[in-house]
Amino acid sequence: MIEVRDLVKRFATDRVVTAVDHVSFTAEPSQVFGLLGPNGAGKTTTLRILSTLLSQDSGTASVCGFDVAKDSAKVRGSIGFLSGSTGNYGRLTAREMILYFARIQGVDNPGARTDALIERFEIGNFANQRCDRLSTGMKQKVSIARAIVHDPPVLILDEPTTGLDVIVSQTFLRFIEEARSDGRCVLFSTHIMSEAERLCDQIAIIHSGRVLAIGSLDALRERTGERYLESIFIRLVERDDR
């Protein structure tokens, strides 16, 4: 579903920084694949390349069999992208926003799909309010509905719970679990260990642009001898820093 091979991305800021350094991993359908790493580890850059926002310097990446560099339009049609910094169009109502994205994404019956999503995410009570007047939780629901309006097989979620309170975060985490149950492949980046422990079938620990370890939580425990993901993470990062 998602296949990444030797992905490299460099940025020239105050020095040339290799944000993504030969990263490789594979994520399957009905799987939540977690990218775990501190700020600046290269998680966001990797996800932006996979969602065709950025282009890689070398390596290959494909989503649903479509190459991100060569078939970017088909890749975008296959993904639902959402990040913690993604905003809503404040001047549109919740319904208008979902409806417009249904049209942009080429959904067959955009009106019916919008109504279905409004019902599923319990948006009905505030569907006709402008998004800039909604609470954070309401906004997140609208964002999720917007991201899956075209029923994508792959979800790319970049630290989606950043800045959310516990209750809103729970809404989000439940949504990810439902997506897995629906057979979707969810690529999910976070630096919140408890979320990764709860959700991820496979975890890739990233530090300084490189993948330090990949595997299930049990496999990582076995490899490091640590019980908790936080301890596993710290041990791997400290070993890498040395």
Binding site: D14, T52, L53, T86, Y89, E96
Partner: protein, 647 residues
């Protein structure tokens, strides 16, 4: 794709209509421009009345073959009755001989020893006629000298035989249309540019700041569709704003507060025809294309509102400047000027008001404006595809750490052009020689040195101050001797599109050479530019862009900037052609001195030829120039070796 663009257009339009400030900007600002035009128009009228310009009159006395078509003042008609008229120039201006045509564009009368040429400065045909009459008179003077004096062995100065004077007999209507035609695009552009900027910043920069751009760019809609839809809305806002401004001005006129017909003169302009108004509305569309393109590029480049506000204001003011180009006497809409953004539409407005704009020229202006918009969209598309447009660009200090000084070079160049525009031209018009000394030493030399000093760059490496090898120096001498061929070839190639008016060439030559000693001319117009222009362009600017551009881009960009610095559409390509050679020489030799030698020789040869008034045999010049240009390019590119300097 069309369905996607259509959906996006509806989406973006709804977003804009939900923004009251946008509507305010779109409607109220241009509405207020009507009264603004009223006040300006009335002021203009009173100024014109105070000036007591000649009235319009047809003497009606000429026969069919020499019918008088110039709108002449009464005293001019009195001269005609004296029977001293010696020539009337027609539409198809003959180079010499008898002149007579129904479409008279200029005249000449003879009173004693004074010949007076009548023409209209606002008409290119009339100006051509004036030049032709001058040429005829000059030949007649020469003939008189030959026949009456020279052959008799008597030395007589030409002015003792005939004094040639030129008088401007522009009609009042045309005079009024001129400034109003200049003011009108400015009034419309002001609201139009504001609408374009505001909408573009909201739709593009605002999306980045609000974090919504990712939702669009990760949707099925491709970036081209997203950008085209945004361009469509920005363009639409600008055009509506322009139309509202035009309608507002017209409404004020209908209400009786602004009398356009009176403003445009009573003769032949009893009303501004509806067709002219419609065409003006069409011209607004062209302006909308140009301004929307610029606004989209700026908004895409800016990572946030703060940056967008910082760069949009000055950029738009800079873009509006060409709208006043029609105020300069002698600048007309022609095939070359039609390629200049904003200025082309401003000049078209002026011609529309006078009733002189042809369909062919209108189509040419429209095509050029559409091309400007397309280039801008392509630029925005390139920017939108770049990481820094999404995640922010490196700061100035960060860029400089990596050796990227492209922005610093751009700032330095704009500063140099502005200094040249305001101070250099003023100084040179006051005194050509000392003005040139001031321009070269203080402006160009000062800026070149200040730029390197401010950025704290190594002098020798940045300015390429290393000595050239003997081989490269010898080739630079050969290149400098051949270089005039490059400029001449460029001028020859551009002549079908951008001709050099004889009068302009004469006045430029006269201004440079005047009655100065040859040594003074060579030092001030050849040696000083060779040192200080090279120091700025092939030294500082080339050194700054070395890491930011490929070698080919360095050559093209520096040559283009060098051509632009001469502030003349006519001289852009000839000076740019020399700039190509000099830049290639410095890049390949690694030494600024090769360009200094070439520049000094190039200018020196041209000035010496002008000083001794040497005219090459007919037909020989283009051939020699082309051969020289080719040899110079080949010599610079293949002969000079050993470069590789810069920061």
């Amino acid at each position: 794709m069309i369905h996607t663009i259509w959906t996006l257009l509806a989406f973006e339009l709804k977003l804009q209509l939900r923004q009251p400030a946008a509507l305010w900007m779109l409607l109220l600002t241009p509405v207020l421009l009507g009264p603004g035009a009223l006040i300006g128009g009335e002021l203009m009228m009173s100024t014109m009345e105070a000036a007591n310009k000649p009235t319009i009159e047809d003497d009606g006395s000429a026969d069919d073959s020499q019918r008088w078509r110039i709108h002449a003042p009464p005293h001019f008609a009195e001269w005609l009755e004296d029977g001293d008229r010696i020539a009337i120039v027609g539409g198809n201006v003959p180079a010499s001989g008898d002149i007579g045509d129904a479409d008279a564009q200029a005249s000449v009368t003879l009173e004693g020893r004074k010949a007076t040429i009548g023409f209209r400065v606002d008409s290119s045909r009339s100006r051509s006629a004036r030049d032709a009459v001058k040429e005829v008179l000059k030949r007649r003077k020469a003939a008189l000298l030959d026949e009456r004096f020279v052959n008799a062995g008597i030395a007589v100065a030409p002015d003792e035989v005939v004094t040639i004077a030129v008088e401007d007999h522009t009609t009042e209507a045309a005079r009024a249309a001129g400034p109003f035609g200049v003011a009108l695009p400015g009034l419309i552009l002001l609201g139009l540019a504001m609408a374009a900027t505001y909408t573009a910043v909201d739709l593009v920069t605002g999306e980045k700041e609000r974090g919504t751009i990712e939702t669009l760019l990760t949707s099925r809609a491709d970036r081209r569709s997203v950008l085209l839809a945004k361009f469509g809305i920005v363009c639409g806002s600008a055009i509506v704003s322009g139309w509202v401004a035009l309608a507002s001005i017209w409404a004020v006129q209908l209400a009786g507060y602004l009398n356009l017909p009176t403003l445009l003169g009573a003769d032949g302009h009893t009303e501004v025809p509806a067709s002219a108004l419609l065409l003006m509305g069409g011209a607004v569309v062209l302006l909308g294309f140009q301004m929307a393109g610029l606004a989209i590029v700026l908004a895409t480049y800016a990572p946030d509102y703060k940056t967008a506000s910082m760069i949009s204001g000055p950029a738009m003011m800079f873009a509006l400047t060409p709208s006043g180009i029609g105020a300069f006497p002698g600048i007309e809409l022609n095939a070359g000027m039609a390629l200049v953004p904003v200025a082309n539409v401003a000049l078209a407005f002026k011609d529309l008001l006078v009733g002189e704009l042809g369909v062919g020229m209108l189509i040419w202006v429209a095509a050029a404006s559409a091309a400007h918009g397309a280039v801008a969209i392509y630029g925005a598309w390139l920017l939108l595809g770049r990481e820094e447009a999404l995640i922010g660009s490196a700061s100035g200090s960060e860029r400089r750490t990596l050796g990227y000084y492209g922005r610093d070079a751009a700032i330095l160049f704009v500063t140099a052009v502005l200094c040249m525009w305001f101070f250099g031209q003023l100084a040179q018009s006051t005194d050509p020689v000392w003005g040139m000394v001031f321009t070269q030493v203080v402006l160009f030399g000062g800026l070149a040195i200040a730029g390197v000093a401010y950025l704290g760059l190594p002098w020798r490496r940045t300015l390429s101050l290393g000595a050239p090898s003997r081989r490269n120096l010898a080739l630079a001498v050969v290149g400098g001797v051949l270089a005039p061929g490059a400029g001449t070839t460029a001028m020859w190639l551009q002549s079908p599109l951008i001709p050099v008016p004889t009068a302009l060439a004469e006045s430029m030559g006269a201004a440079l050479i005047g009655d100065h000693h040859l040594l003074t001319i060579l030092v001030s117009f050849a040696l000083l530019p060779a040192v200080f222009e090279e120091l700025l362009f092939r030294g500082t600017l080339l050194g700054l862009v070395r890491n930011s551009l490929s070698t080919t881009s360095q050559v093209l960009v520096i040559a283009l900037l060098f051509g632009m610095m001469h502030l003349s559409v006519i001289r852009l390509f000839p000076t740019g052609a020399f700039g190509l050679l000099a830049t290639i020489a410095v890049i390949r030799s690694g030494s600024l001195w090769t360009a200094v030698v070439m520049h000094a020789l190039n200018n020196g040869i041209l000035l010496t030829i002008g000083y001794f008034e040497w005219t090459p045999p007919e037909g020989i010049l283009p051939l020699v120039a082309c051969v020289g240009a080719f040899a110079a390019v080949a010599g610079m590119h293949h002969g000079i070796k050993g470069g590789g300097v810069g920061v």
